[in-house]
Structure formats: C-alpha cells, structure tokens
Amino acid sequence: MIDWAKLWNSFTFQFIDKGGYKEVLRGLGATVQIAVFGLIIGIIVGMFIAIIKVMPKYNFFAKILDKFAVVYVAIFRGTPMVVQLLVGHYFLRPLIGWTCDPLIEAIVIFGLNSGAYVSEIMRGGIQSIDVGQLEAGRAVGLTFWTAMFRIVIPQAIKNIIPTLGNEFITLVKETSVASFVTVLDLYRAFEQIGYASYSFLIPYLVLALIYIVLIVIITIGVKLIERRLKKNERKN
C-alpha cells in the first residue's frame, strides 16, 4: 500500500522546505528557453535549407548550396542529439575558443538540429503548394526569393503548423539531454532535488507531470494558431 500522507510530507519537504521549487522554476526557464529559441532558429535554418532544396539548380552557386544542404541534413539527422551536444561541448567549444554560457550553446545546437528536421517538414509544405503560385509570382517579375517569401512560404507555413507543433513537442522533451553539457534544465533540477534527500519517487513523478502540462499547453496553443489562420482565409 502506498502511504499517501508520507508521500505528501516528502513532497512538501523536498519542494518547499528545502526550496526545491526555486530550482524547478530555474530548470523550467532553461527548458522553455532551449525549446523556444531552438525552434525559432530551427524554423529559420530549416526554411533556408528547404528553399535551397527546391530552388532551380542552374548556376554553380545553387548546386554548391544544394550539396551543402544535403550534407547538413545528413549530419544532423544522422547523429543523436546527445552526441551532437557532446561533440559541440567537448570538441567544437575548445576548438573555436567559445566561452559562452552552456545554455546558449545548447540553444544553438538544438536549433541547428531542429533545422535539419524542420527543413524536411518545410520542403513538404512548399511542395504541397501549387506550382502555379510561384509561377504567377515569377510571371509578374518577382525574383525567386521574393516570390518564395511573399507567396509560397506564408501558405506553406499554414499547412505545416500541425507538424511544426509536433516538432516543438519533440524538442521540449529532448531538452532533457541538455544536462549532459551542464545546463541546469528541468530534468537536472529534479535530479538534484532527488539527490538532496535520496528520495527520487516524488521528484520524478512531478517531473513527468510538468512535462505533460507543458505539452498540453503547447498542443492547445498550436490548435488555436491553426484555427486562427484558417479563419483568416474565409473572411468576407
């Protein structure tokens, strides 16, 4: 039988009496920062990679860019997140003499990693838009990039919002490996709380609960954005 009263006591002791909630808040902040900024970097990088992939390949420059994109995606999809973080932290960081906060480092690497995945999502989105849209843009004299950014990408983004939400959720959960490079994220915070009193049951349960709440919030947010964008199109 589970002794609920004892569990509750343990909870209040660990989180309130010993000040665990402060660490939780700090960890939550780090996790949210990594996920949000990582996604933003990911979307920007992914968008460029996707456009490079669908670009007509006439000149040498475009071909080189395309090769670069292929290699980029192969590297970041071909290795686990943890490995990228570790290589970044223990190899690249000393190599280029980078002395920033590990949090920023984690954001950059999460962003680059996410960029590889977003690029494929985005490419699917771009290809789901009728070619005629781009052609019509080119026919009135817009350049490829202007037509892309003003006409195709806005429509593509609307189509891929659900999949991007999925990517965001994955990203939030993956942040738990950021503790490998000394970032004090949510997982790390709870681990420390556990170690403080050598009782892990309650911290890990609460950890799971917080992740679920986070992701439910994201799910609802994505749904709201989606609905709002759909409504816009039918106005008048």
Partner: protein, 286 residues
C-alpha cells in the same frame, strides 16, 4: 478591329525557337514576329506545344535554343535579367493562380509595390555613394543625385489607387478586401488579368484563359479581353475559343508537331485553310 491604329514596330520577335524536355522535342523551330497592338491567336491540337511555346516567351520554360528579342534584348540569353523583362510581359494562366494568402487588392499591388520599392531602395543606395564620392570632388565636378520623386508611402498609395481604378473597370471594387477563395472562377480570371495589367505590360500572354471556367463565366472574361484588344494591347492568346479568335484576333497561328503550320488573317484562316492537318482540326472543332 480595323479601327485600331497599327504601327510596324515589332514588340516581340521570335527566331528559330526550340524546346526539348530531355529527349522529347516539343518545339522544333518557331519563327514569329508580334507587332505592337496586334492580337495573335495560337491554336492547335492538344500536345502540339502551343502552351509550351507561350511559356517559352517569358522564359517560364527555358527555351533550349533560338532567339526571343524583347526591348532590344535576347531573353533566351541567361545573362539577361529576366525579371526586369517579365515585369513588362503580363501572363494570364489557365488556373488563374491568384495568390491565395493575399487579399484581392494586395494581389494586384504586390508586384508594383515590390518593384517600385526595390527601385527606390536602389536609388537611395546609389545616392549615398554619390554623396560620399562628392565629398572628394571639386566644387564644379560634383555629380548630381538621382532624383527621388515619391516616398514609400506615396508609391504604395499610388499603386493602391491604380488597383482600385482597375477593379472598378471590371466592377469588382467591393471585393477588394476579400480573399481569392471566396470568388467565382470568372471573377478570379478577370482579377488575374488586371493583376497583369497593373504592371503596365507591353505585351500580354494568355494561356488558355477560359479553359478552366464554367461555360457561363467564359463570356465575362472574353469581354474583358476584347476590351483590351480594342484599347490596343498587344496580346498572344492560346485558346480553344474559335469564335473569339475569329472575331478578335488580327492573325491566327496554327501550331502542330512543334512547328507553325499555317498563319494568316482569321477570315482566310477559317474559311480557306490550306494545311491538311488544319483542315482536319477545324472540321473537328467547328
């Protein structure tokens, strides 16, 4: 269309235009000159390359070989900035292709705004360098700045006013802030036409503009095109509307197997065809 003033100025000159899709030869050498104010109708059986021919004219499909002279430059040449010339070649598609993410008014003003604002930015940038260089020039050797006539806001406002005037012309000004998904096919196609007109094109290309329309909407689009013809717009029209070609065109061109097989004035073309393939074709469609 005899009342129309014609000059002999050639707007678009095509010489030996060829286009291959990998091994498949679609166009095998097309020569045609389009004069200012002329309406050229292009007809032919499906798969003969007439759409490809039209799309080659503004390099929507890159021609494999040949020469397309427009505004004194060869569009087939890769070094020519095609975007500048495309601004002066309007194109209307079979599937309308209005920008679905923009309202009607923004559909029309997008390209004029982008072009004008781009030019403004370029002029400002150049002026900056001229000013900088002027610092080191003697007093009487200073270079004049490029004149900037309109500010950003004025450009946008002028373009919007022009767009409203065009919308008024086709009687759709109350749809200015609607999205394309709420319009009928005929309305979409007419807006696609004035979207092209907003750039003040020298020549307009129509790629089967009425083929995707309900029969009752064909009339309104053809009426607008007829008006354009009367106003003296130079047009190249790929069409299956034989009646329209006969009535509006100054010249009808029959393309088959990637070549121009017959070309003459509509009266002669329809009443006295010489090419056997054309005779066969006309007997089927008329």
């Amino acid at each position: 269309m005899n009342a129309k003033i014609k000059s002999d100025e050639i707007v678009l000159s095509v010489k030996n235009l060829t286009k291959n899709f990998d091994k498949l030869e679609v166009l095998k050498g097309i020569d045609i000159d389009v004069k200012k104010g002329e309406v050229v109708a292009v007809i032919g059986p499906s798969g003969c390359g007439k759409s490809t021919f039209l799309r080659c004219l503004n390099c929507m499909e890159d021609p494999t070989g040949g020469v397309i002279m427009f505004q004194g430059e060869n569009l087939v040449d890769r070094k020519v900035d095609i975007n500048v010339h495309r601004q002066k070649i309007g194109m209307v598609f079979q599937q309308f292709n209005l920008f679905n993410n923009l309202t009607i008014i923004k559909n029309i003003t997008l390209a004029p705004n982008v072009v004008a604002l781009g030019n403004l930015r370029k002029a400002k940038c150049k002026n900056f360098f001229i000013k900088f260089a002027n610092l080191f020039r003697k007093k009487d050797a200073k270079k004049p700045l490029i004149e900037i006539k309109q500010t950003k806001k004025e450009i946008k406002k002028a373009n919007e006013e022009k767009a409203y005037a065009l919308l008024k012309r086709i009687g759709l000004e109350e749809k200015a802030n609607a999205y394309p998904s709420t319009l009928s096919g005929g309305q979409k196609q007419r807006i696609a036409i004035i979207r092209a007109l907003a750039m003040d094109p020298i020549v307009m290309l129509f790629d089967e503009p009425t083929s995707a329309l309900d029969p009752e909407m064909v009339g309104e689009v053809l009426d607008l095109m007829k008006q354009l013809a009367i106003d003296g717009m130079t047009m190249v029209i790929v069409t299956h509307e034989m009646g329209f070609a006969r009535e509006v065109a100054d010249r009808v061109v029959f393309i088959d197997e990637g070549r121009i097989k017959e070309e003459s004035a509509p009266a002669e073309f329809f009443s006295n065809p010489k090419n056997d393939r054309l005779k066969d074709f006309l007997s089927k469609v008329l």
